[in-house]
Subunit: 249 residues, 2 copies
DNA sequence: CTTTCTTTGGATCGGCGATCCAAAGCGCAT
DNA sequence: ATGCGCTTTGGATCGCCGATCCAAAGAAAG
């Protein structure tokens, strides 16, 4: 078999009519890069997609980039994957599943709930694109594990059945909200070369310039905006909801 | 104002060379559609964009569709608008501002908070694309009004200053989470021609087929999933939050 | 009327997701 | 072993998108 180096392929494309299929094959023998020896698979593709996403955000996942990274063509990828959405969903499921696998359920239900929420928070913090995709498709199969754990822990907290469903949904909605916001911040951080502190300073400055008479609260909150820690604030929010759930009996 | 009928534009385009700049003008006089008499403006464009978004979701807002709807060209639009993101943000601000303008602050802070959250919920329910854009950019200028109102109402609820900032953020995050989820549902509804009930039935059926031993909570929640009302569940969540605030002092 | 500036229309570009097809390998039946 | 069909691969191609660019058309200034 002739080992052909991946040089430039044919530059001059046929300038045939616009819609004509290439039925009558021309004389020129088309050079082909050799077929890959190691088999492509859905897992390999998902893995490569995850690395692209982690490296450059959601915009870095393009079919073109995938073909380059895997040294293959479009057809090979689309043979294992339905479309780009399928790929993004699979990568998200992958991350979520991994997070849940590492989770240990504590004895105290309250602490376990807090730990689960924080686990999801940290995962989204590490992979912001997961937050975006998750807030777009909150009912992925991988999330069922989450709902189940939350439901059980609420049961352990003696939340009665009629309210348990609403309580679980509320908690999930809160986590999703933070996820989306975090992902948005991370996106902005990557887009601009201003880091998180600079971005917050920017918002805080705009807030500080508001009329203190019309916007007393926002105007006064600028200091806290600069200093606050996202993770701690998130946990505080979880505690608020847990307290509210306990108060509802 | 002269309403120009949307007649056919020029059909036959010039078939110039592929990459050559049209410096040396050829002999053929290029036919031009007449210039519009009524002035274009940023507001008119934002209005048209909103109608497109309401009509066909986020994917319906394309520059091409805008030029057709306004009977104009790309250049005219880009003269008034920075880029597509600017346009989407402006349309979102427009909707949010309108919602806030119609809001009346009640005497009871608890009821007022509930009303504000529901107002945002209803607006996003009516314009799902607002939810997506809002969860992507939670710090739009139009949202400052919201933060301010929430802060004042929390103050009226005697939430002390150190906790007020966290509490306001938590509530906003919760609302954002619901917003994103709602927008996702609406998107799916529009994509498939299955309506909301059919979609929920689909999810519920998948849940029902899970192993009842491994997933007792999710398996049992299918009935509630089918029957629950999004709006009521959202309000329940707000009440949980309010109870949590009260419990934490 | 002439010049200058603002606003408009549309050709064009590069990049994207998706489709399609032929080549290449692989396995099974003969 | 040999031919034949099925699976997998590589890449040309299509249509559409956002964005850029430029010349024409009018409005304003002189």
């Amino acid at each position: 078999m002739v080992k052909r180096t991946p040089e430039e392929t044919s530059e001059e494309t046929s300038e045939g009519t616009s819609a004509g299929p290439s039925k009558s094959s021309s004389a020129a023998a088309p050079p082909r890069t050799p077929r890959r020896t190691d088999g492509l698979s859905r897992e390999v593709i998902v893995q490569a997609a995850t690395e692209l996403l982690d490296g450059g955000g959601e915009s870095a996942l393009t079919l073109r980039a995938l073909t380059v990274r895997l040294s293959t063509g479009y057809g090979a990828i689309y043979h294992h994957v339905a479309d780009k959405g399928d790929l993004l969903a699979a990568a998200t499921d992958d991350v979520i599943t991994r997070v849940l696998a590492d989770m240990v359920m504590d004895a105290d239900p309250r602490e376990a709930l807090r730990r689960m929420a924080v686990g999801l928070f940290d995962a989204i913090d590490a992979h912001p694109w997961v937050g975006t995709e998750l807030s777009r498709q909150p009912w992925r199969p991988a999330m069922v594990e989450f709902y189940e754990s939350i439901g059980r822990l609420l049961d352990a907290l003696a939340v009665p059945e009629p309210a348990r469903f609403d309580a679980a949904g509320t908690l999930v909605n809160y986590v999703m909200g933070v996820a989306g916001q975090n992902a948005a911040n991370a996106r902005r951080r990557a887009g601009d070369d201003t880091d998180r502190a600079a971005f917050l300073d920017n918002v805080a400055e705009q807030w500080a310039q508001l009329d203190p008479d019309r916007y007393p609260f926002v105007h006064a909150a600028t200091t806290r905006l600069r200093e606050h820690d996202d993770r701690e604030q998130f946990i505080t929010g979880v505690d608020i909801f847990l307290a509210g759930i306990a108060a509802l009996h």
